[in-house]
Point group: C2
Chain length 244, copies 2
DNA sequence: CGTCGTTTTGACGGCAGTCAACGCGGGTGG
DNA sequence: CCACCCGCGTTGACTGCCGTCAAAACGACG
Protein backbone atom coordinates (compact mmCIF):
# COMPACT_ATOMS: atom_id res chain seq x y z
CA UNK A 1 0.00 0.00 0.00
CA UNK A 2 1.05 3.53 -0.72
CA UNK A 3 0.62 6.57 1.50
CA UNK A 4 -1.62 8.17 -1.13
CA UNK A 5 -4.75 6.61 -2.55
CA UNK A 6 -3.89 5.28 -5.95
CA UNK A 7 -6.51 6.07 -8.59
CA UNK A 8 -6.57 4.09 -11.85
CA UNK A 9 -5.62 7.29 -13.65
CA UNK A 10 -2.50 7.71 -11.53
CA UNK A 11 -1.74 4.07 -11.98
CA UNK A 12 -1.92 4.35 -15.73
CA UNK A 13 0.30 7.41 -15.96
CA UNK A 14 2.76 5.92 -13.50
CA UNK A 15 3.13 2.90 -15.74
CA UNK A 16 4.75 5.12 -18.34
CA UNK A 17 6.33 8.04 -16.53
CA UNK A 18 8.07 8.04 -13.21
CA UNK A 19 6.11 10.59 -11.20
CA UNK A 20 7.58 12.65 -8.38
CA UNK A 21 5.85 13.23 -5.06
CA UNK A 22 4.88 16.70 -6.16
CA UNK A 23 3.35 15.44 -9.33
CA UNK A 24 1.47 12.75 -7.46
CA UNK A 25 0.01 15.30 -5.10
CA UNK A 26 -1.09 17.54 -7.97
CA UNK A 27 -2.77 14.48 -9.44
CA UNK A 28 -4.45 13.89 -6.10
CA UNK A 29 -5.87 17.36 -6.13
CA UNK A 30 -7.37 16.84 -9.57
CA UNK A 31 -9.48 14.07 -8.05
CA UNK A 32 -11.21 16.25 -5.50
CA UNK A 33 -14.64 16.81 -6.98
CA UNK A 34 -16.05 13.31 -7.04
CA UNK A 35 -19.32 12.78 -8.81
CA UNK A 36 -21.54 9.81 -9.62
CA UNK A 37 -23.69 9.14 -12.66
CA UNK A 38 -26.33 6.56 -13.39
CA UNK A 39 -26.18 4.04 -16.18
CA UNK A 40 -27.87 5.21 -19.35
CA UNK A 41 -28.07 8.91 -18.60
CA UNK A 42 -25.72 10.81 -20.87
CA UNK A 43 -22.99 12.87 -19.24
CA UNK A 44 -22.47 15.11 -22.21
CA UNK A 45 -24.76 15.30 -25.14
CA UNK A 46 -23.78 15.76 -28.77
CA UNK A 47 -23.67 19.44 -29.68
CA UNK A 48 -23.64 20.61 -26.09
CA UNK A 49 -20.75 22.91 -25.40
CA UNK A 50 -19.54 21.76 -22.05
CA UNK A 51 -16.55 23.16 -20.26
CA UNK A 52 -16.07 20.19 -17.98
CA UNK A 53 -14.03 17.05 -18.32
CA UNK A 54 -13.92 13.97 -16.12
CA UNK A 55 -11.41 11.45 -14.97
CA UNK A 56 -13.21 8.14 -14.76
CA UNK A 57 -12.43 6.22 -11.59
CA UNK A 58 -15.09 3.54 -11.60
CA UNK A 59 -17.37 2.00 -14.20
CA UNK A 60 -17.50 2.08 -17.98
CA UNK A 61 -18.57 4.77 -20.42
CA UNK A 62 -18.86 4.91 -24.17
CA UNK A 63 -18.59 7.88 -26.50
CA UNK A 64 -20.73 7.75 -29.61
CA UNK A 65 -22.35 9.68 -32.41
CA UNK A 66 -25.96 9.33 -33.47
CA UNK A 67 -26.95 9.82 -37.08
CA UNK A 68 -30.12 11.24 -38.50
CA UNK A 69 -31.43 7.79 -39.39
CA UNK A 70 -31.10 6.70 -35.77
CA UNK A 71 -28.14 4.34 -36.15
CA UNK A 72 -25.33 4.99 -33.79
CA UNK A 73 -21.60 4.45 -33.93
CA UNK A 74 -19.63 4.00 -30.75
CA UNK A 75 -16.29 5.70 -31.19
CA UNK A 76 -14.55 4.51 -28.05
CA UNK A 77 -15.07 3.03 -24.63
CA UNK A 78 -13.71 4.64 -21.50
CA UNK A 79 -12.63 2.50 -18.60
CA UNK A 80 -11.33 3.47 -15.15
CA UNK A 81 -8.31 5.69 -15.50
CA UNK A 82 -9.42 7.23 -18.75
CA UNK A 83 -9.94 10.88 -19.44
CA UNK A 84 -13.32 11.89 -20.75
CA UNK A 85 -13.89 14.99 -22.81
CA UNK A 86 -10.37 16.33 -22.59
CA UNK A 87 -10.59 17.94 -25.97
CA UNK A 88 -13.90 19.56 -25.19
CA UNK A 89 -12.40 21.41 -22.22
CA UNK A 90 -9.40 22.75 -24.02
CA UNK A 91 -11.35 23.60 -27.14
CA UNK A 92 -15.01 24.09 -26.63
CA UNK A 93 -16.35 21.42 -28.91
CA UNK A 94 -18.02 18.23 -27.94
CA UNK A 95 -19.02 16.57 -31.16
CA UNK A 96 -20.16 13.38 -29.55
CA UNK A 97 -22.13 12.09 -26.59
CA UNK A 98 -21.03 10.13 -23.53
CA UNK A 99 -23.19 7.41 -22.06
CA UNK A 100 -22.43 5.54 -18.85
CA UNK A 101 -22.62 1.80 -19.48
CA UNK A 102 -22.63 1.10 -15.76
CA UNK A 103 -23.10 3.38 -12.81
CA UNK A 104 -19.90 5.36 -12.65
CA UNK A 105 -17.76 7.50 -10.43
CA UNK A 106 -15.70 10.26 -11.90
CA UNK A 107 -13.73 13.28 -10.82
CA UNK A 108 -14.87 16.52 -12.37
CA UNK A 109 -12.06 18.61 -13.81
CA UNK A 110 -12.58 22.14 -15.00
CA UNK A 111 -10.48 23.82 -17.63
CA UNK A 112 -9.06 26.05 -14.91
CA UNK A 113 -8.04 23.09 -12.71
CA UNK A 114 -6.31 21.48 -15.59
CA UNK A 115 -4.41 24.53 -16.73
CA UNK A 116 -3.32 25.20 -13.17
CA UNK A 117 -2.05 21.64 -12.84
CA UNK A 118 -0.23 21.96 -16.13
CA UNK A 119 1.42 25.17 -15.01
CA UNK A 120 2.60 23.58 -11.79
CA UNK A 121 4.11 20.48 -13.30
CA UNK A 122 4.86 20.57 -17.02
CA UNK A 123 5.85 16.94 -17.00
CA UNK A 124 2.37 16.06 -15.90
CA UNK A 125 0.99 18.02 -18.83
CA UNK A 126 3.14 15.97 -21.14
CA UNK A 127 2.02 12.75 -19.51
CA UNK A 128 -1.64 13.67 -19.92
CA UNK A 129 -1.17 14.74 -23.52
CA UNK A 130 0.59 11.47 -24.11
CA UNK A 131 -2.42 9.61 -22.75
CA UNK A 132 -4.64 11.63 -25.08
CA UNK A 133 -2.43 10.74 -28.00
CA UNK A 134 -2.67 7.08 -27.07
CA UNK A 135 -6.45 7.38 -27.14
CA UNK A 136 -6.24 8.88 -30.57
CA UNK A 137 -4.07 6.01 -31.75
CA UNK A 138 -6.78 3.66 -30.55
CA UNK A 139 -9.40 5.51 -32.55
CA UNK A 140 -7.21 5.16 -35.62
CA UNK A 141 -6.78 1.45 -35.01
CA UNK A 142 -10.53 1.18 -34.59
CA UNK A 143 -10.96 2.89 -37.93
CA UNK A 144 -8.60 0.43 -39.57
CA UNK A 145 -10.63 -2.41 -38.10
CA UNK A 146 -13.89 -1.06 -39.49
CA UNK A 147 -12.40 -0.47 -42.89
CA UNK A 148 -10.29 -3.53 -43.41
CA UNK A 149 -10.99 -6.37 -41.00
CA UNK A 150 -13.72 -8.99 -41.38
CA UNK A 151 -16.25 -9.17 -38.56
CA UNK A 152 -14.65 -12.05 -36.65
CA UNK A 153 -11.13 -10.65 -36.67
CA UNK A 154 -12.53 -7.24 -35.79
CA UNK A 155 -14.26 -8.70 -32.76
CA UNK A 156 -11.18 -10.65 -31.70
CA UNK A 157 -9.01 -7.57 -32.07
CA UNK A 158 -11.43 -5.50 -30.05
CA UNK A 159 -11.60 -7.96 -27.17
CA UNK A 160 -7.81 -8.19 -27.08
CA UNK A 161 -7.35 -4.44 -27.07
CA UNK A 162 -9.82 -4.05 -24.27
CA UNK A 163 -7.99 -6.73 -22.31
CA UNK A 164 -4.70 -4.94 -22.74
CA UNK A 165 -6.20 -1.66 -21.58
CA UNK A 166 -7.82 -3.20 -18.54
CA UNK A 167 -4.62 -5.01 -17.64
CA UNK A 168 -2.85 -1.68 -17.44
CA UNK A 169 -5.19 -0.41 -14.74
CA UNK A 170 -5.23 -3.73 -12.95
CA UNK A 171 -8.77 -4.97 -13.56
CA UNK A 172 -7.96 -7.86 -15.87
CA UNK A 173 -5.50 -10.69 -16.04
CA UNK A 174 -4.12 -12.68 -18.91
CA UNK A 175 -6.96 -15.19 -18.73
CA UNK A 176 -9.77 -12.68 -19.15
CA UNK A 177 -11.82 -9.88 -17.58
CA UNK A 178 -15.26 -8.79 -16.45
CA UNK A 179 -17.09 -6.92 -19.20
CA UNK A 180 -20.42 -5.15 -18.75
CA UNK A 181 -21.04 -4.59 -22.46
CA UNK A 182 -24.13 -5.96 -24.16
CA UNK A 183 -24.01 -7.40 -27.65
CA UNK A 184 -25.73 -4.21 -28.80
CA UNK A 185 -22.77 -2.22 -27.55
CA UNK A 186 -20.43 -4.47 -29.47
CA UNK A 187 -22.59 -4.10 -32.56
CA UNK A 188 -22.59 -0.31 -32.39
CA UNK A 189 -18.87 -0.22 -31.81
CA UNK A 190 -17.89 -2.70 -34.49
CA UNK A 191 -20.28 -1.54 -37.18
CA UNK A 192 -22.25 -4.79 -37.16
CA UNK A 193 -25.81 -5.81 -36.42
CA UNK A 194 -26.52 -7.27 -33.00
CA UNK A 195 -27.56 -10.52 -34.64
CA UNK A 196 -24.29 -10.87 -36.43
CA UNK A 197 -22.36 -10.06 -33.28
CA UNK A 198 -24.00 -13.06 -31.71
CA UNK A 199 -23.03 -15.30 -34.62
CA UNK A 200 -19.46 -14.06 -34.53
CA UNK A 201 -19.18 -14.65 -30.79
CA UNK A 202 -20.49 -18.17 -31.19
CA UNK A 203 -18.01 -18.79 -33.95
CA UNK A 204 -15.08 -17.56 -31.84
CA UNK A 205 -16.26 -19.61 -28.88
CA UNK A 206 -16.71 -22.81 -30.89
CA UNK A 207 -13.27 -22.35 -32.36
CA UNK A 208 -11.85 -22.30 -28.86
CA UNK A 209 -10.44 -18.80 -29.19
CA UNK A 210 -12.36 -16.61 -26.78
CA UNK A 211 -15.59 -16.82 -24.79
CA UNK A 212 -17.87 -13.86 -24.12
CA UNK A 213 -20.60 -14.86 -21.73
CA UNK A 214 -22.44 -13.58 -18.66
CA UNK A 215 -20.49 -10.37 -18.60
CA UNK A 216 -17.16 -12.11 -18.70
CA UNK A 217 -14.51 -12.45 -21.39
CA UNK A 218 -12.31 -15.52 -21.23
CA UNK A 219 -9.34 -16.01 -23.47
CA UNK A 220 -9.39 -19.71 -24.32
CA UNK A 221 -6.29 -19.66 -26.49
CA UNK A 222 -4.51 -16.35 -26.16
CA UNK A 223 -1.72 -16.96 -28.66
CA UNK A 224 -3.97 -18.30 -31.36
CA UNK A 225 -6.38 -15.43 -30.78
CA UNK A 226 -3.61 -12.86 -31.19
CA UNK A 227 -2.59 -14.53 -34.40
CA UNK A 228 -6.17 -14.70 -35.67
CA UNK A 229 -6.80 -11.02 -34.93
CA UNK A 230 -3.40 -9.95 -36.24
CA UNK A 231 -3.15 -8.04 -33.00
CA UNK A 232 -0.03 -5.96 -32.63
CA UNK A 233 -0.08 -4.05 -29.35
CA UNK A 234 2.62 -1.64 -30.53
CA UNK A 235 0.14 1.23 -30.69
CA UNK A 236 -0.81 0.68 -27.05
CA UNK A 237 2.31 0.26 -25.01
CA UNK A 238 4.44 2.68 -26.86
CA UNK A 239 7.40 4.09 -24.99
CA UNK A 240 6.58 7.00 -22.75
CA UNK A 241 6.41 10.55 -24.04
CA UNK A 242 9.37 12.76 -24.67
CA UNK A 243 9.84 14.62 -21.46
CA UNK A 244 10.24 18.21 -22.42
CA UNK B 1 -2.36 41.26 -51.86
CA UNK B 2 -0.81 41.27 -48.45
CA UNK B 3 2.66 42.43 -47.50
CA UNK B 4 3.49 38.88 -46.36
CA UNK B 5 3.18 35.77 -48.50
CA UNK B 6 0.05 34.00 -47.47
CA UNK B 7 0.49 30.27 -47.12
CA UNK B 8 -2.55 27.97 -47.12
CA UNK B 9 -1.77 27.17 -43.50
CA UNK B 10 -1.90 30.82 -42.51
CA UNK B 11 -5.02 31.23 -44.53
CA UNK B 12 -6.72 28.38 -42.73
CA UNK B 13 -5.83 29.59 -39.25
CA UNK B 14 -6.76 33.14 -40.14
CA UNK B 15 -10.22 31.95 -41.13
CA UNK B 16 -10.88 31.06 -37.51
CA UNK B 17 -8.70 33.29 -35.36
CA UNK B 18 -7.81 36.90 -35.93
CA UNK B 19 -4.00 36.86 -36.02
CA UNK B 20 -1.83 39.79 -35.03
CA UNK B 21 1.18 40.96 -37.02
CA UNK B 22 3.47 39.30 -34.52
CA UNK B 23 1.69 36.02 -34.84
CA UNK B 24 1.76 36.22 -38.60
CA UNK B 25 5.49 36.77 -38.60
CA UNK B 26 6.06 33.84 -36.27
CA UNK B 27 3.99 31.76 -38.69
CA UNK B 28 6.16 33.07 -41.51
CA UNK B 29 9.25 31.86 -39.74
CA UNK B 30 7.82 28.38 -39.36
CA UNK B 31 7.75 28.17 -43.14
CA UNK B 32 11.47 28.69 -43.64
CA UNK B 33 12.78 25.23 -44.39
CA UNK B 34 11.03 24.40 -47.62
CA UNK B 35 11.35 20.88 -48.93
CA UNK B 36 9.99 18.93 -51.87
CA UNK B 37 8.99 15.29 -52.10
CA UNK B 38 8.12 13.07 -55.02
CA UNK B 39 4.84 11.31 -55.51
CA UNK B 40 4.83 7.78 -54.11
CA UNK B 41 7.89 8.02 -51.89
CA UNK B 42 6.83 7.90 -48.26
CA UNK B 43 7.77 10.85 -46.08
CA UNK B 44 7.52 8.95 -42.85
CA UNK B 45 7.24 5.24 -42.58
CA UNK B 46 5.15 3.30 -40.11
CA UNK B 47 7.14 2.51 -36.99
CA UNK B 48 9.83 5.03 -37.75
CA UNK B 49 10.40 7.41 -34.89
CA UNK B 50 10.73 10.72 -36.58
CA UNK B 51 11.11 14.03 -34.80
CA UNK B 52 10.03 16.16 -37.73
CA UNK B 53 6.67 17.47 -38.78
CA UNK B 54 5.66 19.30 -41.93
CA UNK B 55 3.26 22.00 -42.96
CA UNK B 56 1.99 21.09 -46.38
CA UNK B 57 1.96 24.01 -48.77
CA UNK B 58 1.41 22.30 -52.10
CA UNK B 59 0.12 18.92 -53.24
CA UNK B 60 -1.76 16.11 -51.56
CA UNK B 61 -0.64 13.47 -49.06
CA UNK B 62 -2.37 10.54 -47.42
CA UNK B 63 -1.68 8.92 -44.08
CA UNK B 64 -2.33 5.20 -43.89
CA UNK B 65 -1.68 1.95 -42.09
CA UNK B 66 -0.68 -1.28 -43.75
CA UNK B 67 -1.75 -4.60 -42.29
CA UNK B 68 0.06 -7.89 -42.29
CA UNK B 69 -2.15 -9.25 -45.06
CA UNK B 70 -1.15 -6.37 -47.31
CA UNK B 71 -4.45 -4.48 -47.27
CA UNK B 72 -4.16 -0.86 -46.39
CA UNK B 73 -6.46 1.65 -44.77
CA UNK B 74 -6.07 5.32 -45.50
CA UNK B 75 -6.79 7.24 -42.31
CA UNK B 76 -6.81 10.75 -43.69
CA UNK B 77 -5.80 12.93 -46.58
CA UNK B 78 -3.72 16.05 -46.11
CA UNK B 79 -4.22 19.01 -48.41
CA UNK B 80 -2.37 22.33 -48.58
CA UNK B 81 -2.52 24.06 -45.23
CA UNK B 82 -2.63 20.86 -43.23
CA UNK B 83 -0.20 19.82 -40.55
CA UNK B 84 1.47 16.50 -41.02
CA UNK B 85 2.81 14.43 -38.17
CA UNK B 86 2.09 16.94 -35.44
CA UNK B 87 1.57 14.24 -32.87
CA UNK B 88 4.75 12.47 -33.81
CA UNK B 89 6.82 15.56 -33.01
CA UNK B 90 5.35 16.25 -29.66
CA UNK B 91 5.27 12.62 -28.68
CA UNK B 92 7.67 10.44 -30.47
CA UNK B 93 5.30 8.00 -32.07
CA UNK B 94 4.46 7.71 -35.70
CA UNK B 95 2.12 4.81 -35.95
CA UNK B 96 1.33 5.34 -39.57
CA UNK B 97 2.94 6.19 -42.87
CA UNK B 98 2.66 9.25 -45.08
CA UNK B 99 2.62 8.97 -48.84
CA UNK B 100 2.62 11.89 -51.26
CA UNK B 101 -0.21 11.50 -53.77
CA UNK B 102 1.27 14.20 -55.95
CA UNK B 103 4.64 15.89 -55.89
CA UNK B 104 4.50 18.10 -52.88
CA UNK B 105 6.10 21.08 -51.20
CA UNK B 106 6.19 21.30 -47.45
CA UNK B 107 7.86 23.29 -44.72
CA UNK B 108 9.84 21.21 -42.28
CA UNK B 109 9.13 22.00 -38.65
CA UNK B 110 11.20 20.58 -35.83
CA UNK B 111 9.93 20.04 -32.32
CA UNK B 112 12.21 22.87 -31.20
CA UNK B 113 10.83 25.32 -33.79
CA UNK B 114 7.33 24.51 -32.74
CA UNK B 115 7.91 24.85 -29.04
CA UNK B 116 9.70 28.12 -29.57
CA UNK B 117 6.80 29.44 -31.63
CA UNK B 118 4.37 28.31 -28.96
CA UNK B 119 6.36 30.09 -26.26
CA UNK B 120 6.38 33.30 -28.25
CA UNK B 121 2.69 33.42 -29.01
CA UNK B 122 0.44 31.27 -26.88
CA UNK B 123 -2.57 32.18 -28.98
CA UNK B 124 -0.86 30.61 -31.94
CA UNK B 125 -0.38 27.44 -29.93
CA UNK B 126 -4.08 27.36 -29.24
CA UNK B 127 -4.89 27.94 -32.88
CA UNK B 128 -2.66 25.07 -33.97
CA UNK B 129 -4.02 22.74 -31.33
CA UNK B 130 -7.47 23.70 -32.47
CA UNK B 131 -6.56 22.71 -36.02
CA UNK B 132 -5.28 19.40 -34.69
CA UNK B 133 -8.52 18.85 -32.85
CA UNK B 134 -10.45 19.55 -36.02
CA UNK B 135 -8.39 16.88 -37.78
CA UNK B 136 -9.27 14.45 -35.04
CA UNK B 137 -12.95 15.27 -35.44
CA UNK B 138 -12.58 14.39 -39.10
CA UNK B 139 -11.06 11.04 -38.25
CA UNK B 140 -14.01 10.35 -35.96
CA UNK B 141 -16.46 11.28 -38.68
CA UNK B 142 -14.56 9.00 -41.04
CA UNK B 143 -14.92 6.21 -38.51
CA UNK B 144 -18.66 6.78 -38.31
CA UNK B 145 -18.84 6.57 -42.07
CA UNK B 146 -17.01 3.25 -42.18
CA UNK B 147 -19.14 1.79 -39.44
CA UNK B 148 -22.56 3.05 -40.29
CA UNK B 149 -22.91 4.43 -43.79
CA UNK B 150 -23.57 2.41 -46.95
CA UNK B 151 -20.97 2.70 -49.67
CA UNK B 152 -22.72 5.32 -51.79
CA UNK B 153 -23.54 7.68 -48.93
CA UNK B 154 -20.01 7.17 -47.60
CA UNK B 155 -18.57 8.24 -50.94
CA UNK B 156 -20.89 11.23 -51.20
CA UNK B 157 -20.03 12.31 -47.69
CA UNK B 158 -16.34 11.98 -48.36
CA UNK B 159 -16.46 14.07 -51.53
CA UNK B 160 -18.45 16.75 -49.76
CA UNK B 161 -16.08 16.90 -46.82
CA UNK B 162 -13.11 17.20 -49.11
CA UNK B 163 -14.84 20.00 -50.95
CA UNK B 164 -15.48 21.88 -47.74
CA UNK B 165 -11.85 21.52 -46.69
CA UNK B 166 -10.52 22.66 -50.04
CA UNK B 167 -12.89 25.61 -50.06
CA UNK B 168 -11.36 26.80 -46.81
CA UNK B 169 -7.90 27.07 -48.34
CA UNK B 170 -9.24 28.49 -51.57
CA UNK B 171 -8.65 25.67 -54.05
CA UNK B 172 -12.26 24.72 -54.67
CA UNK B 173 -15.51 26.43 -55.33
CA UNK B 174 -19.09 25.41 -54.76
CA UNK B 175 -19.31 23.70 -58.12
CA UNK B 176 -16.39 21.32 -57.61
CA UNK B 177 -12.64 20.91 -57.38
CA UNK B 178 -9.59 19.29 -58.91
CA UNK B 179 -8.84 15.97 -57.27
CA UNK B 180 -5.70 13.89 -57.95
CA UNK B 181 -6.97 10.77 -56.18
CA UNK B 182 -7.27 7.47 -58.02
CA UNK B 183 -10.15 5.10 -57.43
CA UNK B 184 -7.68 2.94 -55.51
CA UNK B 185 -7.13 5.79 -53.07
CA UNK B 186 -10.86 6.12 -52.62
CA UNK B 187 -11.16 2.38 -52.08
CA UNK B 188 -8.45 2.32 -49.43
CA UNK B 189 -9.94 5.31 -47.67
CA UNK B 190 -13.56 4.18 -47.73
CA UNK B 191 -12.96 0.53 -46.93
CA UNK B 192 -14.20 -0.66 -50.32
CA UNK B 193 -12.76 -2.55 -53.26
CA UNK B 194 -11.61 -0.50 -56.23
CA UNK B 195 -14.19 -2.24 -58.37
CA UNK B 196 -17.00 -1.26 -56.11
CA UNK B 197 -15.75 2.32 -55.94
CA UNK B 198 -16.19 2.45 -59.66
CA UNK B 199 -19.74 1.13 -59.45
CA UNK B 200 -20.62 3.62 -56.73
CA UNK B 201 -19.20 6.53 -58.71
CA UNK B 202 -21.18 5.52 -61.74
CA UNK B 203 -24.31 5.29 -59.64
CA UNK B 204 -23.82 8.77 -58.18
CA UNK B 205 -23.08 10.18 -61.61
CA UNK B 206 -26.13 8.58 -63.26
CA UNK B 207 -28.29 9.88 -60.44
CA UNK B 208 -27.11 13.38 -61.22
CA UNK B 209 -25.58 13.94 -57.82
CA UNK B 210 -21.83 14.23 -58.33
CA UNK B 211 -19.33 13.45 -61.08
CA UNK B 212 -15.81 12.22 -60.45
CA UNK B 213 -13.87 12.09 -63.70
CA UNK B 214 -10.48 12.98 -65.13
CA UNK B 215 -9.18 14.21 -61.83
CA UNK B 216 -12.10 16.52 -61.28
CA UNK B 217 -15.06 16.43 -58.92
CA UNK B 218 -18.19 18.23 -60.04
CA UNK B 219 -21.20 18.70 -57.83
CA UNK B 220 -24.17 18.22 -60.14
CA UNK B 221 -26.81 18.82 -57.50
CA UNK B 222 -25.23 20.11 -54.32
CA UNK B 223 -28.36 20.27 -52.16
CA UNK B 224 -29.59 16.83 -53.07
CA UNK B 225 -26.11 15.44 -52.53
CA UNK B 226 -25.91 16.92 -49.04
CA UNK B 227 -29.26 15.41 -48.26
CA UNK B 228 -28.28 12.02 -49.68
CA UNK B 229 -25.02 11.94 -47.70
CA UNK B 230 -26.66 13.30 -44.55
CA UNK B 231 -23.75 15.69 -44.53
CA UNK B 232 -23.68 18.01 -41.54
CA UNK B 233 -20.61 20.24 -41.66
CA UNK B 234 -20.92 21.14 -37.97
CA UNK B 235 -17.77 19.18 -37.14
CA UNK B 236 -15.79 21.18 -39.70
CA UNK B 237 -16.56 24.84 -39.31
CA UNK B 238 -16.90 24.91 -35.61
CA UNK B 239 -16.41 28.21 -33.87
CA UNK B 240 -12.80 29.10 -33.21
CA UNK B 241 -10.96 27.82 -30.17
CA UNK B 242 -11.22 29.30 -26.73
CA UNK B 243 -8.47 31.83 -26.57
CA UNK B 244 -6.73 31.22 -23.31
C1' DC C 1 -46.33 -14.53 -12.78
C1' DG C 2 -45.79 -11.09 -16.42
C1' DT C 3 -42.72 -7.89 -18.45
C1' DC C 4 -38.68 -6.28 -20.37
C1' DG C 5 -34.05 -6.44 -21.91
C1' DT C 6 -30.83 -9.47 -23.72
C1' DT C 7 -29.28 -13.59 -26.07
C1' DT C 8 -29.90 -17.13 -29.47
C1' DT C 9 -31.15 -19.34 -33.77
C1' DG C 10 -33.06 -19.90 -38.54
C1' DA C 11 -34.53 -18.28 -43.19
C1' DC C 12 -33.92 -15.11 -46.71
C1' DG C 13 -32.04 -11.35 -49.40
C1' DG C 14 -28.90 -7.72 -50.78
C1' DC C 15 -24.69 -5.11 -50.71
C1' DA C 16 -20.23 -5.47 -51.75
C1' DG C 17 -15.95 -8.54 -52.71
C1' DT C 18 -13.52 -11.50 -56.07
C1' DC C 19 -12.32 -12.96 -60.55
C1' DA C 20 -11.82 -11.94 -65.14
C1' DA C 21 -11.66 -9.43 -69.26
C1' DC C 22 -11.22 -5.33 -71.92
C1' DG C 23 -10.47 -0.28 -73.10
C1' DC C 24 -7.63 3.62 -72.77
C1' DG C 25 -3.71 6.80 -72.46
C1' DG C 26 0.91 7.86 -71.47
C1' DG C 27 5.57 6.57 -71.18
C1' DT C 28 9.51 3.89 -72.88
C1' DG C 29 12.47 1.48 -75.71
C1' DG C 30 13.44 -0.56 -80.12
C1' DC D 1 7.39 6.25 -85.36
C1' DC D 2 5.49 2.35 -83.79
C1' DA D 3 5.06 -1.56 -80.51
C1' DC D 4 4.73 -2.64 -76.11
C1' DC D 5 3.73 -2.19 -71.41
C1' DC D 6 1.77 -0.63 -67.33
C1' DG D 7 -1.36 1.81 -64.46
C1' DC D 8 -5.90 3.14 -64.23
C1' DG D 9 -10.76 2.87 -65.30
C1' DT D 10 -14.87 0.10 -66.67
C1' DT D 11 -18.02 -3.64 -66.89
C1' DG D 12 -20.19 -8.37 -66.18
C1' DA D 13 -20.84 -12.80 -63.71
C1' DC D 14 -20.69 -15.09 -59.61
C1' DT D 15 -20.15 -15.60 -54.58
C1' DG D 16 -20.40 -14.75 -49.80
C1' DC D 17 -20.56 -11.95 -45.74
C1' DC D 18 -23.59 -9.76 -43.18
C1' DG D 19 -28.19 -7.25 -42.54
C1' DT D 20 -33.17 -7.84 -41.87
C1' DC D 21 -37.13 -10.16 -40.21
C1' DA D 22 -39.04 -13.22 -37.11
C1' DA D 23 -39.59 -16.12 -33.23
C1' DA D 24 -38.28 -18.25 -29.13
C1' DA D 25 -35.52 -18.95 -24.77
C1' DC D 26 -33.56 -17.01 -20.81
C1' DG D 27 -32.90 -14.32 -16.64
C1' DA D 28 -33.69 -10.23 -13.73
C1' DC D 29 -36.89 -7.69 -11.55
C1' DG D 30 -41.16 -5.91 -9.89
Amino acid sequence: MHAYEESPFTRKLAAFVALSKDELSVLERLHQRRRSFRVGIDLVHQGQSEQTAYILSQGWVCSYKIQRDGTRQIVDFQIPGDFLGLRSVLLRTSDHSFEPITDIQAAEVSAADLLEAFAQTPRLATAILWAASRDEAMVVEHLVGLGRRPADARMAHFLLELGARLLLVGIADKSGYACPLTQYHLADALGLSAVHVNRVLRHLREDGLVTFRNGHVTFDDYDRLIDFAEFDPAYLDQAGPVLL
